[in-house]
């Protein structure tokens, strides 16, 4: 079974891009959608006849939740005899990066999010093998070029594809890339490409009050410029 991880900011078009990949592949594709509180995409996958599971991280750090569950997701894919397993997760703190060494990682960003966005997104984009830029059909050619350039500034190696998530225009070479992905027999002992955010503090265990007195565990303080 092949596997890819797809990540990107909320509403950047991840689900549409995955649907276009599934359409073009002609293989049995299954999706595990990681989200925080709610997810509305399950129906979209089901309508397309794609087996889907949804994992809601709730009060847990979404990145930690991902790595705690991804092995089970892989097994789910094997049990369901998928040809391709796709995990979809939102980069909720712009630091999250669900990409795994040896498993092709895709980052989806949209042109409307501002030209500096690629530089703000971090490891999710920087460590991706493929960057998909969506919504390019409604901005000017020049802005698309500048956006692509901006992606390049952060990730010099990734393949960049401009895709219209609605019509599927531009999805062909992305689909080819996914079709060429290696088979992944198991995830055990593989590594994340980037560490998850660290937190083991009083707020992790339900503290809500503000004040130094209540802060315990791993903490980090903002450095003000006058200090």
């Amino acid at each position: 079974m092949k596997m890819i991880t797809v990540a990107g900011p909320p509403s950047s078009g991840k689900t549409s891009v995955i649907l276009r990949i599934a359409e073009g592949l002609g293989l049995r594709v299954g999706v595990v959608k990681f989200d925080c509180l709610t997810s509305f995409d399950k129906a979209r996958y089901e309508d397309a006849g794609i087996p889907v599971e949804v994992g809601l991280s709730g009060k847990f750090c979404p990145d930690h939740f991902f790595v705690n569950n991804v092995e089970e997701c892989h097994r789910w894919g094997l049990r369901n005899e998928l040809d391709v397993l796709i995990t979809e997760s939102a980069g909720l703190c712009n630091r999250c990066s669900p990409h795994i060494t040896g498993v092709p990682g895709v980052c989806v960003v949209d042109c409307l999010s501002g030209v500096h966005t690629p530089r703000k997104i971090g490891p999710m984009l920087k460590l991706a093998d493929v960057v998909v830029v969506t919504k390019g059909d409604i901005v000017s050619q020049a802005e698309r070029e500048v956006f692509g350039w901006s992606v390049r500034q952060v990730n010099s190696k990734a393949r960049i594809f401009f895709i219209n998530g609605i019509t599927g225009q531009g999805a062909f070479m992305l689909t080819k890339t996914v079709a060429d992905a290696p088979d992944i027999d198991a995830l055990t002992d593989r590594r994340l490409r980037f560490t998850t955010p660290a937190a083991a503090c009083s707020y992790c265990t339900g503290e809500t009050r503000i004040g130094e007195y209540y802060q315990m565990g791993m903490m980090r303080k903002l450095q003000f410029s006058e200090e």
């Binding site: 000017s140 050619q141 802005e143 500048v146 901006s150 401009f162 531009g170 062909f172 070479m173």
Partner: protein, 332 residues
């Protein structure tokens, strides 16, 4: 490259490659001591700073070398493409197209056919440089030869610059800032290109704007004019696709002539007779396939002259209405 990065003081490197400033910004390293070499300056930092990015000081020089090399490659002049050849595949019913269309730099070809007939499919084949591996089975050659697998990945999304009525500027910048930003992403452009784009855009636009005008304040016609002038002078893509641009506030024929004069391969997807007949030839799409390729005939060119008169008439009427004048007859 890496040796140079390791041995030269950072300040000297930045003089030579100003883009290093961007690279350092991406890693939150703007405050490095520039009198020192990169590596020494990095070692003087709190290791926790780089740890945030999952890297150590010794990773940085090779990452910077990658960054500069990619930048040079990306910004480099696009491989000049003198011709595109479409080798026919099949239509939706599987019937062979039996056609070869060769389009040269500086030529204008229109693509006509009912909505849903397969115009987008043809464009998609050109964009991904299809090699008999898309549903149409078409093959696309550049300069008469096949395109390698790696070239396809490299060129995908960059071979065709697109202009359509749906496109808008979304950046909140002045025209000058915007053009500077675009020029900045292409390091090979000549001096004066910004002024050139600006002047041409103003020639094409019905109403004038300035370099200080904000992009978001431009009218539809002005935006289109700026996009076209920008594509003509700044875009690296050898093929320009114009998708049904409306005839308001921008001189479309002048725009297409400009792109052709800039040695672009110009494709115009249109239902408008003025644009279709203004092209050197037209590809007629039917049932998902190339139905015909017609070179514009002399008779058609004469008809075009008549159509232009009607168009001019409409244009003048529109001008009068906008100026608050009365229309007395349809003959001026």
């Amino acid at each position: 490259m890496e040796l140079e990065i390791e041995n030269k003081p950072l300040a000297a490197l930045i003089d030579e490659y100003p883009a290093i400033v961007d690279f350092l910004q991406n890693l939150n390293l703007s405050s490095l001591n520039r009198a020192d070499t990169l590596l020494n300056a990095l070692y003087a930092l709190d290791p926790a700073l780089l740890d945030e990015f999952g890297i150590t000081p010794s990773d940085v020089p090779s990452q910077l070398a990658d960054f500069l090399e990619t930048r040079a490659r990306e910004a480099g002049a696009f491989r000049a493409v003198r011709s595109v050849t479409i080798l026919g595949g099949r239509d939706k019913s599987g019937a062979a197209e039996n056609v070869t269309v060769e389009i040269h730099a500086g030529e204008v070809v229109s693509i006509v056919g009912p909505t849903g007939s397969g115009k987008s499919r043809l464009l998609a084949d050109i964009e991904c440089l299809a090699q008999a591996d898309t549903p149409t089975g078409r093959r696309i050659l550049l300069d008469g030869r096949e395109v390698t697998w790696e070239e396809r990945f490299e060129l995908e999304g960059r071979i065709v610059a697109q202009l359509s009525q749906n496109m808008n500027f979304v950046m909140d910048l002045t025209v000058r800032e915007f053009l500077e930003m675009h020029a900045g992403s292409r390091q090979t452009l000549r001096e004066g290109v910004i002024e050139r784009v600006f002047e041409k855009a103003n020639d094409l636009a019905g109403e004038k704007f300035t370099l200080a005008t904000r992009l978001t304040e431009l009218s539809g016609g002005q935006s289109r004019a700026l996009m076209i002038a920008d594509a003509a002078y700044m875009s690296a893509s050898p093929i320009v696709l114009i998708d049904e641009i409306e005839n308001a506030g921008v001189d479309r024929r002048e725009a297409i002539a400009l792109l052709a004069a800039r040695e672009k391969i110009v494709l115009v997807s249109t239902h408008d007779p003025l644009l279709a007949l203004g092209a050197d030839s037209r590809i007629v799409i039917k049932n998902g396939g190339i139905f015909k390729v017609i070179a514009t005939t002399e008779t058609e060119k004469r008809s075009l002259a008549e159509l232009e008169k009607i168009d001019r008439l409409l244009y003048n009427m529109r001008g009068k209405l906008r100026a608050g004048e009365m229309i007395t007859a349809v003959d001026e």
